[in-house]
């Protein structure tokens, strides 16, 4: 139960970073922390008591394993996060070219 609570605290740290920081790069790092927290939470739902790693081998016989399905899903989610981060960083570099600053309080042309 404690580990799940720590994951939620990590999620809230990432959310704080996105909401309160002014630098674009820090906001992107906040999004990355959010993704880490959600992926970590997802893997932890697969834990079983006295479980071993879910890998078959030809010698030993494994009786109780942790759930392998969340591990496959989180692998996909990590790659999706990588693609989103790459896109955010590319947009951030181009914003720096056009506006000359990384501060979001000065990048406010669209209003109304």
């Amino acid at each position: 139960m404690m580990v799940y609570l720590l994951c939620i605290i990590l999620f809230c740290c990432g959310l704080y970073c996105v909401l309160r920081k002014r630098n674009i790069i820090k906001i992107i790092i906040g999004v990355i922390i959010l993704e880490y927290a959600v992926n970590l939470f997802f893997i932890l739902t697969g834990y079983r008591m006295e479980g071993r790693a879910p890998i078959f081998s030809s010698e030993a016989e494994i009786l109780n394993m942790v759930d392998p399905l969340p591990q496959a899903l989180v692998l996909t989610a990590i790659v999706i996060g990588l693609a989103t981060t790459a896109l955010l960083v590319a947009i951030a570099i181009r914003i720096y070219e056009k506006y000359g600053t990384f501060d979001i309080t000065e990048i406010r042309e669209l209003k109304g």
Partner: protein, 501 residues
């Protein structure tokens, strides 16, 4: 397994194959991206109409990917709501692709546009046909990331700022959805939507499911631009190039947002009066806030974006009512809104292509120089304002009658007031943009090229005749099928599991 179910994976395979082929050959062969884009969306449009016919003959069709049966494998489901959404998405995508053959000449690297566009269409189709929860999330992300890149396509200042805002908020919305899926997997230990419905109806609703419902409301509400989560839409939709604005406002927020809400809240978790009243309240709030903010706008596309928020409120109001007439009205309004909002955004794109400006105060009297644009703009505005006998009138009437029948008189009166507000805002658009006298700076503009004219004329024609979808003979096998799927609620699981054997 029926031989006819082989059509189901084609909806995802064909756009993905098209996108990868364009990305491979598009730099060298000059006309390939246009030809491939138009032919792929034409094939998809035909296949979606075929899927409506197949669903009427065979009932619910399922497809097990890789011959692994659900709940172990991934399953794809074709039922009434699926075929309805497929027709909406692919028909509008075809018209927009024809339009962008001419419009995107002004941008460089047209092959990049078509690659991202086909990826987005493939992602949306995948969201609609899948029956597995995590597969749904993967396709949602494919469509979302492609749309973030497309909003920033012109790489001007405003487009980049809007794309950044949209990307951050969209990513946070997707992460809430993933967190909800993680909680649901931990609770039910299965990922198949039908199986999850069975387990949830056996285990009952407790505190965890309420928290998951709130998380899904936040995540999908952000994708569908409901009112507390709408802040990205007025910046993202105007800044994108016109075909992308039409695509985003016309189909993306409906396929990723409203279809997902219907599927998860009616078929998997099961509707209860709390969620119903939350949806009604958010829908009415969206209608009112969107309408009030739209009237004061002087930017043509920003006004259309705020009006999108307002009309999405109508659809959520219809669906949240839960009565058969309300759901029928909501789904019909979804279909109509795709058609006339895309038409209006393409119209604004044509105006921008010819005059180079989006400010309503600088335009005037365009109907003299651009007759087709003026006529289609007039038809689109009258549709969305709800003038009989165009299609917008029938769907709004259904929603208001359903609200009165369910004895929610306050919501019905708000709906009527916002309808009058919509009429006012579109009369403003017509007066400033098309009627009146031609201002001096605009005397040299020409009519738009042929493909843009063709696609706008097709959409306007559909605006006029789509009222026929309500005639009892025709509505039985298109609209009624879709609303039956939502109404049967958690019976969805039983019909899917029956169709798998």
């Amino acid at each position: 397994m029926n031989i006819a179910s082989n059509i189901i994976p084609l909806f995802v395979v064909i756009p993905l194959a098209g996108a990868f082929l364009i990305s491979f050959f598009g730099r060298s062969i000059k006309r390939l991206p246009d030809a491939m884009g138009v032919s792929v969306t034409l094939i998809l449009c035909g296949l979606s109409l075929l899927s409506v016919r197949l669903h009427n003959i065979y009932g619910v069709l399922t497809y097990s990917v890789g011959a692994w049966r659900p709940p172990i494998g991934i399953g794809m489901v074709l039922d009434g709501l699926t075929s309805f959404m497929l027709v909406t998405v692919n028909l509008v995508a075809f018209c927009i692709t024809v339009y962008s053959v001419n419009y995107m000449e002004k941008f460089t690297a047209k092959w990049k546009f078509y690659t991202l566009f086909l990826l987005m269409v493939g992602g949306m189709n995948g969201v609609i046909i899948t029956g597995d929860m995590f597969n749904f999330f993967v396709f949602l992300e494919i469509a979302s990331v492609a749309s973030y890149a497309l909003v920033a396509f012109g790489t001007e200042r405003h487009e980049l700022e809007a794309a950044f805002k949209y990307a951050i908020m969209g990513t946070i919305g997707s992460l809430f959805i993933l967190l909800g899926i993680a909680f649901l997997y931990g609770y039910t230990s299965t990922l198949n939507m039908a199986d999850m419905g069975v387990v949830l109806s056996q285990k009952g609703i407790d505190g965890l499911i309420i928290m998951v419902s709130i998380m899904f409301l936040m995540g999908f509400g952000l994708k569908a631009a409901l009112v507390p989560f709408h802040a990205w839409l007025p910046d993202a939709h105007p800044s994108a190039p016109a075909p992308i604005s039409a695509m985003l406002s016309g189909v993306l927020i409906k396929s990723l947002g409203i279809y997902a809400l219907c599927r998860i809240f009616y078929n998997v978790i099961g509707i209860n009066p709390t969620i119903s009243s939350i949806l009604l309240f958010l829908g009415t709030l969206s209608m009112v806030v969107g309408g009030l903010l739209a009237i004061g706008q002087w930017d043509f596309k920003r006004l259309l974006a705020y009006s999108s928020i307002s009309q999405i409120g109508y659809i959520i109001l219809g669906i949240g009512l839960g009565t058969p007439l309300g759901i029928l009205g909501g789904l019909f309004h979804l279909f109509n809104h795709s058609i006339f909002k895309s038409l209006l955004f393409l119209n604004s794109g044509a105006v921008e292509y010819a005059t180079g400006t989006r400010d309503l105060r600088k335009m005037g009297g365009l109907a003299q120089k651009m007759p087709l644009t003026g006529t289609t703009g007039f038809i689109g505005s009258m549709s969305i304002a709800g003038i009989p006998p165009l299609n917008g009138f029938w769907s709004k009437l259904l929603i208001i009658i359903a609200a009165v029948q369910a004895e929610r008189y306050i919501y019905a009166s708000w709906a009527v007031l916002v309808s009058i507000l919509t009429l006012a805002m579109y009369t403003k658009v017509m007066k400033y943009a098309f009627l009146g006298s031609l201002s001096e700076g605009l005397s040299r503009i020409k009519e738009i090229p042929i493909f843009m004219k063709l696609s706008m004329a097709t959409l306007a024609f559909m605006c006029i005749v789509m009222g026929v979808l309500l005639i009892p003979g025709i509505s039985d096998f298109f609209l009624q099928r879709a609303s039956e799927v939502i109404l049967e609620g958690t019976e969805y699981a039983a019909s899917v599991l029956r169709a798998i054997r």
